[in-house]
Symmetry: C2
Subunit: 398 residues, 2 copies
């Protein structure tokens, strides 16, 4: 007998019965009388791929609304950093818990994180049944023994979930990590087959400082160091010229676009059309809550799509289906998760959204309504790796 | 005995008991044992001013997702206009009903509309207990007898709600209404003490065409015609230079900023910082659903605030409390509604939002969380003119 049957659910343009066996979809066109241990009535709902959030600092959810509407330097030095210095491991667990709950509530099953005390975040991810790629953060300011501990952590990691949690090597940025450590991180990621997660060209200050210190721009600098490759996930990439977009595409780098954070901190505007034309692999992230101020990928999709149109002056830029792909399958692909689409054989990650709400009516175009009109409160059910994490907006964990 | 008592609700930074008598707040610091016909338990909720949406085409909710991601001319001529030509009065009533329901669900109690068959929209507004300023639309293409009918409608209007619905004189735009009719509309509005609602400088094409045809820009052209005054609500005002901002401020014109629509149609970016510096009266609108694609003013606030920061390059632009004011009290003031703030003596318009949700935690800053982090699904209760329109997300109308 199969594990989960979702009956009469809207899949693309027609009603379907979707069967899940173990961790995977085994049929998206099952007969109505198929048998399964759990049956979900999908009437009045649509099944869609869930979100894969490729740039996050989960525990910073504790800083929601703590400091807004101020210049970047003041924000960091007078508010964020002093707050963070006081955080205990228990705080990080509570911040991660709040983040994980918010993500599941808003339809996200995976996030790529960069923070500290990652075992705390891992425990919560395991508890709630999500996926994550947790960054082991490297900064030049850490002691040699801290750095060695981090390398050991990366080498000795055993995923307690049997497939849902990976680690990433996460040198924070070129302005906090020197050339030698960047190259050590790169070698480590390649040796261990892990992703390398780094902030790149987030602000014009970063670019100016890089020019002054290294005589070139951040992307070119990283490329000269040999760091750029298909394992790299570059968060932001706001300030990149055409040649840099070409370099990022040629090296197979994944870009984590974070439109809300870039707007809120006035960091600049990601050149989506340029990145797309160059063939870059674009994914979507919320960044931390302290600069967003939520982890709501539905809202992030709308910001991405509307900003891309506004910035390019072309309303055809990033149509709804492309925004959905960026927020779902592109992120899944980037992290080697065999999911992100509702299709037979794929890992069973999915959300069910309610259609019987005003913002989804009339239903001329499901994807348009989801990207442009809905809010994430219509996410009814979240399934990850063949397990129901939320149903009828209630968490199912024990 | 008073009519409504809201107990233990968060008002600004402290718990309060709020009393409503008739249409007005009579106390925001009542004793806990105050008596009232209806008692609402406000525990776990905050009371906030509701939204006043100053530019809308309610019935166009029927076109949600009907045509997206295409050039403006194709969108209008191949999709929107042909669709609209087929609309019957019954369709307009259904579109207005969907809009009114969506607006109440998302915490809006007032909208300034511009469309056709306004008696259909008025009937739904009356039925659901909202407020509205319904625009009697003038276009050069209408026949003389249609125009006369519209003038008669304006002169003979009797508000069936006894205070919640007004009409506005709504010449569509300078490119669809000639100089004589613009001046007739202006005189009519002033004679009848009504607002004049018009699209102004929405696109660069409008500005270029105006320069070619009238030798000047739209704001200067309207000012030369003597049309600009404190009764004017100018939707969009995207393409305005510094002098035009000064003219709009000097004439007391209200601007209806519509960030989502402007981005989605790639119309341009409203120069918020310039308008603010000039002293313009800025309010917020969603525009029609066909270019948004919802009527969610909470989302619109976040777009307004983040776009203002991104466009100005300054994260201090439009802080959270300012975004809330623009979306609430500024709109209320513009339309002469003695509401928009929760204070004794003011008309009792309010929303109660739930605080026991992930996106509102931690509660370092209520307004920041509401503007930047929440979604409108946390609106639990909507009160307008001293009447409860929605409670526990259920409409209360018979």
């Amino acid at each position: 007998m199969d594990d989960i049957l979702i009956k009469n659910v809207l899949l693309f343009n027609k009603k379907a019965n979707v069967l899940i066996r173990g961790k995977r979809f085994c049929s998206v066109s099952a007969p109505a009388d198929a048998q399964a241990r759990q049956v979900i009535d999908g009437e009045g709902m649509a099944i869609l791929p869930p979100f894969y959030n490729t740039h996050c600092h989960a525990a910073m959810t504790l800083l929601r609304g703590y400091a807004d509407d101020m210049p970047l330097h003041k924000w960091l030095t007078e508010y964020i950093w002093p707050f963070e210095q006081k955080l205990t491991a228990a705080d990080i667990r509570e911040g991660s818990r709040l983040a994980v709950r918010e993500m599941i509530k808003t339809g996200t099953v995976f996030f790529s994180d960069m923070y500290f005390d990652i075992e705390e975040t891992a425990a919560v991810v395991q508890e709630y049944g999500m996926r994550a790629a947790l960054g082991v953060t490297f900064m030049e300011s850490h002691s040699k023994s801290q750095q060695q501990d981090k390398l050991n952590q990366l080498r000795n990691w055993v995923d307690p979930t049997g497939g849902r949690i990976t680690l990433t090597v996460a040198p924070h940025a070129i302005y906090t990590v020197g050339a030698d450590m960047l190259q050590l991180c790169s070698r480590t990621a390649r040796d261990l087959g892990l992703k390398l997660h780094i902030h790149v060209s987030e602000t014009s200050k970063e670019v100016e400082d890089c020019r002054r210190e290294h005589g070139t721009t951040p992307v070119r600098y990283l490329d000269k160091l040999g760091v750029l490759g298909p394992e790299v996930v570059a968060a932001h990439a706001v300030h990149i010229d055409e040649e840099e977009a070409d370099i990022l595409a040629a090296r197979g780098v994944t870009l984590a676009h974070c439109p809300c954070s870039n707007l809120k901190l006035a960091s600049g505007t990601f050149p989506y059309k340029r990145a797309l034309a160059a063939g870059c692999h674009v994914t979507l992230g919320t960044d931390g809550v302290s600069s967003n101020n939520n982890l709501d990928m539905r809202e992030e999709m709308k910001f991405a799509a509307l900003l891309a149109k506004g910035a390019s002056g072309d309303p055809q830029t990033m149509p709804a289906h492309e925004a959905l792909d960026i927020a779902t399958r592109n992120g899944s692909e980037a992290f080697g998760i065999d999911a992100g689409v509702i299709a037979e054989g794929k890992l069973a990650d999915a959300i069910l959204i309610r259609l019987d709400v005003e913002s989804m009516q009339p239903l001329h175009h499901l994807i348009s309504n989801w990207v442009y009109a809905a809010d994430s409160g219509i996410v009814d059910t979240v399934i990850c790796d063949g397990r129901i994490l939320m149903q009828n907006r209630e968490f199912t964990k024990a």
